[in-house]
């Protein structure tokens, strides 16, 4: 009988760029890393509904309201795709939700910043979703099948998110002086938190080494951050806005922009729970979860009754 060395098989699949599927053997640490990353990603989508949801009732036109509703609904859908991808690794939805609601699980620190003005809705779509897309395009080729497939669907939908955000910014940037000022203020506040989304610098990134080795990630935090800045600068120039970074300048030698690092002390503080909105976000999630409890109970009871009727018939 042939003896299979599962670890070798796993390594050889990765070396060939093959995809790992739920029933394949995988090292425990690979599984743990994925559960952590995918569930945090899912939580980010769900918590990410809150800053923009804040503006649905105050959207300045019916068109704007429809767009924002559709976008926030998409984010909820993305969370659901990701939760089931994580569940395929052996964790449960209840476990993940519990970790989120008790504050044990992390989510993207960007969603702990407030959306103070209507321009923030534009800045979030354009910059935050733009940065997320950069990461998610890479993750379409991640080594775990269900995660990669969720990413393909998500990337298709995110493109609308970024474009609607930029369109909103163009209206403001080419509007009245007060509107332009509002757009500039949003850019000033969102620029550095957006750069933080790619994670700590490569030299200090604790999870990067394994993620790259296992082909969960295919590019480093710094590479993605640099690409984001290069891609976004022409969009900022078109709007006639300025980046709140006096070190930002074109560097011919590296064929890219030089720019200042975000304040990593602030990043760590926000992750630890001390950002402007951490408590509010967690309270909102807990409130809607507990207020939805009766719906889950009723649905469970109804399904049970349906099954009983079916068995009796």
């Amino acid at each position: 009988m042939e003896v299979i060395n599962f670890e070798e098989l796993f390594e050889s699949k990765l070396a060939k760029n093959d995809i790992i599927e739920p029933k394949d053997w995988m090292p425990d640490n690979y599984r743990k890393h994925l559960i952590r990353q995918i569930s945090q990603h899912a939580h980010s989508e769900i918590v990410g509904m809150l800053p923009e949801g804040n503006w649905i009732t105050r959207a300045p036109s019916l068109r704007a309201k429809l767009v924002l509703l559709a976008k926030v609904q998409d984010e909820g859908g993305h969370g659901l795709y990701l939760y089931t991808a994580a569940e395929s690794l052996g964790t449960s939805r209840d476990e993940m939700l519990d970790a989120l609601l008790t504050g044990k699980a992390k989510y993207s620190s960007i969603f702990n910043y407030p959306t103070l003005t209507w321009a923030d809705v534009g800045a979030v779509g354009w910059l935050v979703d733009g940065a997320a897309i950069m990461n998610q395009v890479m993750l379409q080729r991640t080594s775990y099948g269900p995660y990669a497939r969720a990413m393909v669907r998500i990337c298709k939908e995110e493109s609308f998110h970024q474009r609607q955000g930029y369109e909103l910014m163009t209206h403001l940037a080419f509007g009245t002086p007060a509107q332009k000022e509002m757009a500039q203020d949003a850019l000033n506040r969102w620029w550095f938190p957006t750069l933080m989304m790619f994670g700590p610098p490569d030299i200090e990134s604790p999870n990067s080494e394994n993620a790259l080795k296992w082909r969960i990630k295919r590019e480093t935090n710094d590479e993605l951050r640099q690409r984001f800045v290069n891609q976004t600068m022409p969009q900022i120039e078109y709007l006639g806005l300025t980046v709140p970074d006096k070190n930002l300048k074109w560097n011919e030698a590296k064929n890219g922009f030089d720019f200042s690092e975000p304040d990593w002390t602030e990043f760590k503080a926000v992750i630890k729970g001390n950002g402007p909105c951490n408590k509010e976000r967690l309270a909102s999630r807990n409130k809607s979860h507990s207020e939805g409890a009766w719906v889950r109970e009723a649905a469970t009871a109804y399904a049970k009754k349906q099954n009983e009727n079916y068995e009796a018939a």
Binding site: W25, L80, T84, D94, Y302
Partner: protein, 96 residues
């Protein structure tokens, strides 16, 4: 930990256009058949991705296991005579 249940898992299959096969597109939680179908519509067909849906309880899916892959599919590996290219057809008889 909360004892909330999110309902059982369902697998979702979408038919893009009439005449095409149903293709697996993902999964979701729902408490009953009706809700599974409505959730599938809201989650997987928000942009005209399909015109028909199947939802199946995940527990009803039976699958082969990767460890058995070799032996399970082995019976077909040595039967090259099942492929059209195994046969010699003379030139001049046209496309077959």
């Amino acid at each position: 930990m909360s004892k909330d249940s999110q309902g059982p898992m369902w697998e979702v299959f979408v038919q893009k256009k009439a005449g095409q096969p149903f293709v697996h597109c993902g999964n979701l939680h729902a408490y009953d058949k009706e809700m599974a179908l409505q959730n599938a519509r809201d989650l997987y067909t928000r942009r005209g991705e399909g015109m028909a849906l199947w939802v199946v309880p995940s527990s009803a899916i039976v699958s082969s296991s990767p460890e058995d892959m070799g032996s399970f599919f082995e019976p077909s590996n040595d039967k090259i005579y099942r492929h059209p290219t195994f046969y010699q057809i003379p030139d001049g008889v046209g496309h077959m």
